[in-house]
C-alpha cells in the first residue's frame, strides 16, 4: 500500500484558479473556492466531451483553412490568392528557407500536431489505453505550449494588410481562409484548456489498484493451496 496519495480519494479538491487545497464533503458536485471564488469541480466538468467536441470542430475547420486562400498579394494589378501551404512554398522557392521553415512549423505543423495530440489524449482517457502516464503528460505539455504560435500567420497578414496598401501598384488583401484558420487556433486553445490531465492519472491509479487487488487475492490463493 505504498502508492502515492491522490487528493480526490482523500476528500480534497484543488482549485484550478488559485491552486489551493480545499476539503470538500464527499457528495458535493460543485462549489465555490473559498479563497479566490472560482467555481470548483473535482475534475474539469465534462472534460472529455468538451475536448472531443472542440477538437472535432477544429479538425473540420482545418479543411477550409487550408483550401481557401488566406492572403492575396496584388502587385501591379496581378496576383493570385495563396493558401497557407502555397505561401510557405513560395517563400521556399524564393530561397528564404529559414522563414519558410518558421511559417511551415507555425501554421501547418503546429495545428496538425495539436489536433493529433488532442485526439491521442482523448483516446487514452476514453479507451483507458495502456500508456505510461508520463508519456501522456509529455504530449499534454507539448500541445499546451505550442498552441499560441499558430497565430503567427494571422499577425503577419494583419501587418501586411496595413503596410502594403498602395491601390493599383501593390496591395495585400486577406482571404476567407484566414477566418477559418483563426477559428481553428482559438478552438484548439480552448480544447487544451478543457482537457483535464488528472484524468490520465485517475485511470492509472485505478489500474494499479486493480493489479494490487489481483496480487493480494493470488497470494491468498497460494496460501490456502499450501495449507491444503
Amino acid at each position: 500500500m505504498n502508492r502515492p496519495a491522490r487528493a480526490l480519494s482523500h476528500g480534497f479538491w484543488t482549485c484550478l484558479g488559485c491552486r489551493q487545497l480545499v476539503t470538500v464533503p464527499r457528495e458535493t458536485r460543485t462549489c465555490l473556492c473559498p479563497r479566490c471564488g472560482a467555481r470548483m469541480h473535482a475534475r474539469v466538468d465534462g472534460s472529455i466531451m468538451l475536448t472531443w467536441a472542440l477538437t472535432i470542430t477544429g479538425a473540420l475547420l482545418l479543411i477550409p483553412a487550408n483550401i481557401l486562400p488566406v492572403m492575396t498579394v496584388i502587385y501591379l494589378g496581378s496576383g493570385d490568392p495563396s493558401t497557407i501551404i502555397g505561401g510557405t512554398l513560395e517563400l521556399y522557392h524564393n530561397g528564404l528557407w529559414g522563414i519558410a521553415l518558421i511559417v511551415f512549423v507555425a501554421s501547418v505543423a503546429v495545428p496538425v500536431m495539436k489536433l493529433v495530440g488532442l485526439v491521442i489524449l482523448c483516446l487514452i482517457v476514453q479507451l483507458r489505453l495502456n500508456v505510461a502516464p508520463r508519456q501522456a503528460m509529455r504530449i499534454y505539455r507539448v500541445v499546451n505550449a505550442i498552441g499560441r504560435w499558430s497565430l503567427l500567420d494571422l499577425f503577419m497578414i494583419s501587418i501586411l494588410v496595413a503596410l502594403v496598401d498602395m491601390g493599383a501598384i501593390a496591395e495585400v488583401a486577406a482571404g476567407a481562409g484566414s477566418t477559418a484558420f483563426a477559428t481553428v487556433v482559438v478552438v484548439t486553445m480552448f480544447a487544451v484548456r478543457a482537457f483535464d490531465p488528472r484524468l490520465i492519472w485517475d485511470i492509472y491509479e485505478e489500474k494499479m489498484s486493480a493489479v494490487e487487488a489481483e496480487n493480494i487475492s493470488q497470494s491468498h490463493q497460494d496460501q490456502s493451496g499450501e495449507r491444503a
Binding site: V22, L154, P197
Partner: protein, 230 residues
C-alpha cells in the same frame, strides 16, 4: 444540479488536514509541502509539473515591471513599427492600423482576435499585474484583488506579443523583395515591451500575493473577521 454553494459552504474548508498541504494541479498527487524556498521551484515528483516558483521579491519586481510595461505600451501603440516604401509611395504599420485595415475589409472576427491578442490582452495583463501588486498592500482591496488574480489567469495565455514579434519578422523578410522595408522606432519600444511582459510573467507569483492577502486579513480582521463573513 449539485447543491447550492451557499448551503454547504460551512463544510468547505480552505487548506487541508495534517500532513497534506497541496495537490499537484496536473496529476492530483498530494504533497506535504506547499511553498518552494525563495529563488527555487517546487516541482511535482510524479508528473514533473511546476507547482510553485518562488522568485525573490516577487511583488516588488512585478510592480516595477508592470509599471514599465504600461509606460512602454504608450510609444509602442502610437509610434509606427515598420515602414514599407515602393517607388514614391510609403505606408506605415502601427499596432492598431493593421486591425483597422482588417476591420475595414470586413474581417470582424479576425480583426477582433488580432486586437485582443496583440493589444488588449497585453495591456490588460499589465494593468491587472499593477493592480494586484499595488493593491495587495491594502486589506480593503482584498476582494477586487482576488478577482483580478482570477482574471489574470484567464488572460495570461492570450497575450501574444512574442508571436506578434515573430510575425513582424516574417513580414519584414517576406516583403523585402517587393519594396523597401525599414524598421521604425516603435519596434524598439515594442521589443522592450515584449521583454518586460515576459519578465513580469516570470516574476509574478500568485502564491506570494495570496499569502500577503491572508496576512493583511489577519491583522485587519481582529475587529470583524471578514473571512468568516464570506
Amino acid at each position: 444540479m449539485g447543491q447550492d454553494s451557499g448551503q454547504d459552504s460551512a463544510h468547505i474548508q480552505p487548506g487541508a488536514s495534517r500532513p497534506w498541504k497541496r495537490a499537484c494541479h496536473q496529476c492530483d498527487l498530494l504533497l506535504t509541502r506547499d511553498h518552494a524556498p525563495v529563488g527555487q521551484r517546487l516541482m511535482c515528483p510524479r508528473c514533473g509539473a511546476t507547482l510553485h516558483r518562488n522568485m525573490e521579491r516577487s511583488v516588488a519586481h512585478t510592480a516595477a515591471l508592470s509599471l514599465s510595461g504600461l509606460l512602454l505600451f504608450i510609444p509602442s501603440a502610437t509610434l509606427p513599427l515598420l515602414e514599407f516604401s515602393l517607388f514614391s509611395f510609403g505606408a506605415e504599420n502601427t499596432l492598431l492600423n493593421g486591425v483597422q485595415a482588417l476591420f475595414a475589409a470586413g474581417y470582424l472576427w479576425l480583426a477582433s482576435l488580432v486586437l485582443f491578442c496583440s493589444v488588449l490582452a497585453p495591456l490588460g495583463k499589465f494593468l491587472l499585474l499593477a493592480f494586484i501588486s499595488w493593491g495587495s498592500a491594502w486589506a480593503s482591496l482584498a476582494k477586487p484583488v482576488a478577482r483580478a488574480l482570477r482574471w489574470y489567469l484567464h488572460l495570461q495565455e492570450w497575450g501574444m506579443l512574442d508571436v506578434y514579434l515573430l510575425g513582424i519578422l516574417v513580414a519584414l523578410v517576406k516583403m523585402s523583395d517587393l519594396g523597401k522595408m525599414s524598421v521604425e522606432p516603435g519596434l524598439y519600444c515594442f521589443v522592450a515591451m515584449m521583454v518586460v511582459s515576459s519578465a513580469a510573467t516570470v516574476s509574478f507569483d500568485a502564491e506570494t500575493v495570496w499569502a500577503r492577502l491572508a496576512r493583511r486579513a489577519a491583522t485587519a480582521g481582529s475587529k470583524k473577521d471578514p473571512e468568516a463573513a464570506q
